[in-house]
Symmetry: C2
Subunit: 254 residues, 2 copies
């Protein structure tokens, strides 16, 4: 947990061999990062781990003790390789049993004839967990202590996160402004270093890119205090004007 409770932190655990094998591009991290930021929660670390019981248990325990919130995606479906729920039950030393409420949800969705034993496996939830609704395909996620267990399919994960986000307690959201330049970052590196010294409470990031054969750079200013952020942006633009470097304000400070 963060000691300073103006800052709330989260860790994200992406459980999935399909990401590690390169089969699937992980797009969940970006969506979760943006949503958490809006809720005033800082995503502090992401781990992409295989569907391996020992690794899941160890990572969940470590993250649960390290961050205010932990999110996981993947591995809660009906197949043999979906081992997230029983692994998390083990991480917290609780049973993994059929949950009556989850069973009722699946029964309403599938009907009694289609509720096969494979599908019933999705009603097995760690004891003491509360359910997270799944607006797409019924089978719920769950929350146990500070760990939120979500599906890996982006559409389903997003539906679950929409339900969770309003319940999170966060600090002031991080505000940001982005200014993009068509010069290599090395050309303004010293100026940015001085600007960072002048505005210690503003996080000044310099992110190079390569487009149409040319290097460019986006300068991202991030802070929780709007006035401080606006002052840093003003100082940055003054430096760029003085250096005769053209810029584009992609995202103005709010």
């Amino acid at each position: 947990m963060s000691k300073n409770q103006d800052i709330y932190t989260a860790g994200l655990i992406i459980i999935g061999n399909e990401i590690l094998s390169g089969r699937t591009l992980d797009a969940n991290t970006q969506h979760i990062a943006v949503t958490l930021n809006e809720a005033g929660v800082t995503l502090a670390e992401v781990r992409i781990i295989p569907d391996t019981e020992g690794t899941i248990i160890e990572t969940v325990r470590h993250f649960s003790a390290s961050f205010d919130y932990v999110f996981t995606t993947g591995g809660i479906g009906p197949t043999h390789d979906d081992i997230t729920a029983p692994s998390i039950a083990k991480a917290f030393g609780v049973d993994w049993n059929e949950n009556e409420q989850a069973k009722a949800i699946l029964l309403a969705h599938y009907g009694p004839e289609e509720l096969t034993s494979a599908r019933l496996r999705m009603a097995k939830i760690p004891a003491g967990a509360s359910l997270i609704p799944n607006p797409v395909s019924a089978a719920p996620g769950f929350q146990i202590e500070n760990v939120y267990v979500m599906a890996g399919v982006p559409k389903i994960m997003q539906g679950m996160l929409d339900h969770i986000a309003p319940t999170l307690k966060g600090g002031a959201p991080m505000l940001c402004g982005t200014v993009t330049l068509d010069v290599p970052e090395s050309q303004i590196a010293e100026d940015l270093g001085r600007l960072q010294d002048d505005f210690p409470a503003v996080d000044i990031g310099s992110y190079p890119h390569f487009k149409n054969g040319e290097l460019g750079v986006s300068v991202v200013l991030r802070a929780r205090d709007e006035e401080n952020l606006a002052a840093a942006q003003k100082a940055l633009l003054a430096v760029l004007d003085a250096r005769d470097v053209a810029y584009n304000i992609d995202k103005p400070v709010k």
Copy 2:
């Protein structure tokens, strides 16, 4: 290190506040995963961490001791927030000094007048490291022990990885076949479980997706042995035929 040296493992460390803030989608993981797989190296874990010295040092040390190869992306540019190189020097307890070879590369690229002190910072490399060429913008990456330090800009990272990949010692590459179905995975979950029992040396993964309002599933079969893989695919198709489930072979077993 893997004890069984038929299997070679790698860990990937993505160093970048811009991924954790949601500003940037990480596409490097997928490219690196695919390249390593072709080299017979299994990507075992990915961590996305902030540009924070202590976290970089701790993660690099842990990964270097845990995996055959470690790759990092990000944080080796000329600006104040690029702290990967000095942090990795600290992780290995070596100095972080101007490297003559790196300086010569930058000098040839920028010319003596444009080689500013900010740019010269990119010539500072942990002592004892060897350089990794950068075919895009000259400033090199480096290798120290089993750790390969690459740029974060995808085009540059890919150029560096193209140089590294042929030098990696790997095992037999993981072969794979993919069969996609337009039914929810819960409909074939029990069959897949039995198939996994029948083919323990084939990794059978079930990856649901949601397209045009319908759930479907890709079944991915992975193994190092081609014959075993082909037999598992044949058994899978027989089950699908028996169940009258239509399928598409996206990627046939080689």
